[in-house]
Structure formats: C-alpha cells, structure tokens
C-alpha cells in the first residue's frame, strides 16, 4: 500500500550537499508493523517524512494506495495526509495552551464535514482507546511524559487513518512508560492499523513484525524478526 521506488533525497544548505537517502526501494503492505533502525543521521527520520508526505523526494516515486503522489498539489497532499496518516513525534508536540480534548480534535478540524459534537465524540473515543478518558480537560503540562505521548497517539488515531507513523515515540520516555507505549502501538496494529516506527531501541524493534535497517541513507538489510 505504500511503495517507494528509487527514492533519493539531497539536502542542500549553502555550499554543503548532504545525500540523506539513496535509491530506496520500500514496500509496506497493509497491516504491517515496520521498525526502521540505524545509527544517528542515517536518514531514517527523513525516510519517515517522505513516506508521510511531509517531504518530497528529489528523485524516485512514491505511491500511496497504488496512486503516485508526485503530481499532487499542496491541497491534495494535505488531504491525503489528513486521511491516511497519523503522526507521533519524539517530543510529543502537543499544543500547550489547548486542552487535551482540543489537541486530540485537531486533525478533525482540517477534515471538514464533522460538526462540533461529532468531533468531540470521536476525540473522546480516541482518548478512551489510549486509556486517558478521564483527563480530557487537563492541559498537556499537567500530564506525565507517557501520558502526553498517549494523548499524541490519540490525536494520531482520532481520524482513523490507515497508517501510523511514529518517529522515536519512546525516545523521551523511561523504559516503563516506553513499554506501555509499545504495547499500545502493538494493540493498534493488531486492530488493523499499519505502523511504521523509527526507533533506536533494539529491544523494542524485536517485538515488531519487520525490521528495516538504514546506513548512510541506504537500505542495508531486511530481516524479519521472530514473532514476539
């Protein structure tokens, strides 16, 4: 469902050119849980961004759901992002002066169609799913790190996207909270959501269906982990 052909991406700043990705060929099927690993600076976050259409490749093609997105205009890309993907970031990126429930509603605002009441209902359902139904009216700075990340996950799934893209979701959390988040992600994957996750942690990666390794912008090996 997500296909990358010969994708390359170069960053140019003043006089320095960095080749972030080189000839990437990747296929993620529906329902998979893929972990992307590699040393710092090898381009895994960039790859995630390209998959999530936050970034355009310099070369190569990206297909989402069988359709090439190269010719899409900004408006179409935004719509696709809204419906297909949900993002979870390492530093949560919750909006500090909105309440938890408002944060979770955010993707629905940009979807259009749903009225205020409907949005609220869906947001509440998402919060229940991640186990934070009781914290609806709190502000992000009143929650622990793990709770904030769970809110972020709720935000990512509120629109029922097909793919969840997580960029080092447990990077800022301690091991106990990190494990909780992994449990949540695995549960969501079991329910049918495709998950692509960038991680440093070998332990976490082994719990996942498939590992993709990157080094210096190139795929190194693919291996299938044993089922956890």
């Amino acid at each position: 469902m997500i296909r990358l052909h010969d994708v390359s991406k170069t960053y140019r700043t003043d006089k320095i050119e960095t080749l972030a990705l080189k000839d990437i060929d990747l296929h993620v099927a529906r329902g998979e849980f893929v972990a992307m690993m590699g040393p710092s600076g090898c381009g895994k976050s960039t790859l995630l961004n390209v998959i999530g259409l936050l970034d355009r490749p310099g070369q190569g093609s990206v297909e989402i759901g069988g359709k090439p997105v190269a010719s899409y205009r900004d408006r179409d890309v935004a719509r696709l992002r809204n419906r297909m993907f949900g993002f979870v970031f390492q530093s949560f990126h919750l909006i500090a002066d909105l309440r938890v429930i408002d944060n979770v509603e955010l993707p629905l605002l940009y979807r259009g169609g749903a009225g205020g009441g409907e949005r609220r209902r869906l947001a509440r359902a998402a919060l229940e799913r991640v186990g934070l139904g009781a914290r609806m009216d709190h502000y992000p700075n009143q929650l622990s790190g793990g709770q904030q990340q769970r809110v972020a996950i709720a935000r990512a799934i509120v629109g029922q996207p097909e793919v969840l893209l997580a960029d080092e979701p447990t990077g800022n959390l301690d091991s106990r909270m990190g494990a909780e988040i992994m449990d949540l992600l695995l549960a969501l994957n079991a329910d049918g959501t495709t998950v692509v996750m960038v991680t440093h942690d070998e332990q976490e990666a082994r719990r996942v269906g498939r590992i993709v390794r990157l080094f210096d912008g190139q795929l190194v090996e693919r291996e299938h982990a044993h089922a956890a």
């Binding site: 976050s45 961004n49 999530g52 936050l54 970034d55 900004d74 408006r75 935004a78 719509r79 992002r81 809204n82 419906r83 949900g86 993002f87 970031f89 390492q90 530093s91 990126h93 909006i95 002066d97 909105l98 955010l106 993707p107 605002l109 940009y110 979807r111 259009g112 935000r155």
Partner: protein
C-alpha cells in the same frame, strides 16, 4: 472553522501578552492618526450642523479669465457684479447668496479696541445656512433693502465684546461705521460659515463693490432638490461662457463653476480652475495614496512582530501541517489573527480618536471647530483597520504557509 480561527487567535494573544500589547499599541497609534485625519476631512467635506444643507447647495469660489494663448491670466474671487448679473438670475436654484470671505477688522467699543473676523452676507445666506439662533433675530430681505446698519455676532465674540451679557441692541464700531447687534448665533468653523461677526452688504465702507466683476465674494446656490444640482452646474458653466470681462480683448475666456465642497478644495489644491472636472477624484486618490503610504511603516513594524511570533510557533505550525492543514488554511489563520487584532485596535483607536478630537476642540487649534466621531468616522476606522490588518498580515501569512514542517518539527525537537 472561523470559530476555531478566532479561538486559536485568542489563545495566541494570551500566550504572549507583552507582544500582543506592543502590537496593539502600534495599531492604535496608526489608526488614531488616520481616523483623526478622516474625521477632519469628513467635517470639511460633509459637514453637519450649520452647513447641514450641504447636499443641497453648491458654492462658486473663484473666477478665472485667460488671455489669448494663455499669456495673461487672472484668478480671483467673484465680484458682486458678477454674482448679481450672472448668478442671481439663474432659473434652477431656489436661492443665490452673495457672501464675502472673512477678513480681519478692528472692532471699537467706547474704550476698547479688539480684533474680529467679519463677513458681509446678504439675507439669502441666512436661509441657506442653518445657524442656531441664540438671541435676537437674523437679518432679512427687508434689512438688505433698507440698508440697515446691523450685525450678528457669534456666541464667543458676543461673550468677548460684552462680558456683562445682553449683547442684542448694543452698538459696535467697525470700518468707521456704527452697527447695532441684532442677533447672536452659535460658533461655527465651516468653510462658508466661519466668522466672528456677520454684517449685511450695505455696511461695507463704500458701494463700489456693486460695480466690481472681481472682488472677494463667493456665491452659494441652493437647489430645491438635491437632484437639481447637476442642472445648476450646467447652468452656471453656461453663464460663464456668456461672461463679458472688463477687457474682452485681453481676457476673452472666463470660467467659473458651481462646486460641491470637495470640488472647491480640489480646485484650489490642484490649481484646476480651467476645467469642468475639478479633479476631486484625483484629490481623493492622492489622499488615499498618502494614507496607504503612511500605513507602510507601521505595517512593516507589525510584519516584523508577526514574523517573530511565527518563528516561535513553528513547531505548532509543523504539527498542524502534519495533520493535514493546507497552506491556505494556515494563511487564513494568521490573517484572521491579524485582522482581529486590528479590529480591536480600531475600537480602542476610536475611543482615543474621540479623546484627541475633544482635545482639538478644547485647544482651539482651529477656532470653533467641532468634530466628533460619527458613523462615517466609525466606518472609515473599521475600513482602515481592515486594510491595515490585511496589509500587515499577508506577508507573514505567506511565510507561515511556506514553512517547511520538517524543519519546523526538527527545530523544536
């Protein structure tokens, strides 16, 4: 969606109260200057009160004659003879008044000499203007006919000359003539009304004015109906073509025009006496352009403040983009924020404008000036606020929508 923009805007303002305050101050200062100017211009062009019938009368404020080839040229005010011969007989106007421009005279009273500005006006003037009579009566056609030596004072002058009160019936000496005060009217600062003392034409030092084609007169023409105004203009323009100057060989061509107030100003400021089009549209365009230019620096100031705010919010913007906000939606967000702030600034500015105008009145910078904040000024104020908000919001909005979410999210991570 709009509701969300507004709510987000509110949150953004409250998040950084200092910057909201600074931006608001900048907006208020700019809008106050613009609104005070608009109020003064409105009062000049669409006056209320004494010249309340302005939409029904026109004024002739100049006569220009040119020699062949444009070598010799004279531009002056009308003489009484011109008004009597060419304007008073016109069919369409209901009334034609002949008035002089105010001039400084010395007023002598027993032991006391003081200065005042005096206008000579005929009885029709009082019917065209809408003065509030505070005491006594106004001169009428009968006074004109019998040549009575009377005068009318405005309230301030009456208080100044007769501090004890009861000015009606008293006598003052002006231009070597003794005049009896028959009435007291309110103070007025308008272009046709401004004066301290009004006296009939016959009180002038000599009767020579009756034979002058050029002098220091202006004419007011009152129409029966505002719809008649174009017809009056045509009639007056035609009368000018029949004008016979004092030296038809040297000065064969003459023009004079019946103008609205805006036209009068336009003709004077743009030196445009020779064409039917007074150039009012050009004057308005120039004024509008000047105002826009004036808004440039404050808009730039606001743009800089906004840019800083955007950079602060880059992570939030990145998140919104990641979750599907289009560039247009983000730009709209910022424009709404900006316009809201400017509208708030506009309302505060209106209050400040009212204060500034009241100070103007009190300080008597322009004597007898009475300008207030009315609907027209309110409308202008909101328009300025909107234009200002768009002007200063567009650039940051564009920048915001072009923000690369990858960098934004990485930058704050």
């Amino acid at each position: 969606m709009l509701r969300n923009y507004v709510l987000t805007a509110w949150k953004v303002f409250m998040r950084r109260k200092l910057f909201t305050a600074i931006s608001l101050l900048c907006i208020v200062i700019t809008l106050v200057v613009l609104m005070v100017t608009a109020a003064l211009l409105e009062a000049a062009v669409h006056p209320a009160g004494v010249e309340g019938r302005s939409d029904r009368f026109l004024q002739v404020y100049g006569i220009r004659s040119e020699g062949p080839g444009g070598h010799r040229m004279t531009t002056t005010l009308l003489g009484y003879k011109t008004i009597a011969r060419y304007l008073k007989p016109l069919k369409t106007p209901e009334r034609v008044a002949a008035i002089t421009l105010p001039r400084q005279v010395s007023v002598y009273q027993a032991e006391h000499a003081s200065e005042a500005s005096l206008r000579n006006v005929d009885a029709d003037y009082w019917k065209i203007m809408d003065f509030r009579l505070l005491a006594g009566r106004l001169p009428d056609a009968d006074d004109d006919r019998t040549g009575r030596m009377v005068c009318v004072l405005n309230a301030s002058t009456a208080r100044r000359l007769f501090p004890g009160g009861a000015p009606v019936g008293q006598r003052i000496e002006v231009d070597g003539r003794t005049l009896q005060v028959i009435g007291v009217v309110e103070d007025a600062a308008h272009i046709n009304a401004f004066a301290d003392v009004w006296a009939p034409l016959a009180t002038q030092p000599s009767t020579a004015y009756q034979n002058e084609l050029r002098g220091n007169f202006a004419a007011l023409l009152l129409a029966r109906d505002p719809a008649d105004l174009p017809a009056i203009q045509r009639e007056v323009a035609h009368a000018a073509t029949t004008f016979v100057s004092e030296d038809p060989r040297e000065l064969p061509t003459t023009w004079f025009w019946a103008d609205s107030k805006l036209d009068v100003y336009a003709r004077v400021l743009l030196n445009n006496q020779g064409r039917p089009d007074s150039g009012a549209a050009r004057l308005l365009a120039l004024v509008g352009g000047a105002m826009l230019l004036f808004m440039l620096l404050p808009a730039l100031n606001l743009v800089n403040l906004n840019m800083g705010r955007i950079l602060e919010r880059s992570a939030e913007i990145g998140v919104r983009k990641a979750f599907g906000a289009t560039s247009r939606q983000l730009a709209a967000q910022l424009v709404v924020e900006n316009v809201l702030l400017c509208a708030a600034g506009g309302l505060i500015g209106l209050a400040c404008t009212a204060l500034v105008l009241r100070w103007f009145e009190a300080a008597q910078l322009i004597p007898y000036l009475q300008v207030g904040v009315d609907f027209a000024v309110f409308g202008w104020g909101m328009l300025f606020a909107l234009v200002f908000g768009l002007l200063s919001g567009v650039l940051p909005a564009w920048a915001m929508s072009r923000l690369d979410p990858v960098h934004a999210l990485k930058g704050a991570a």
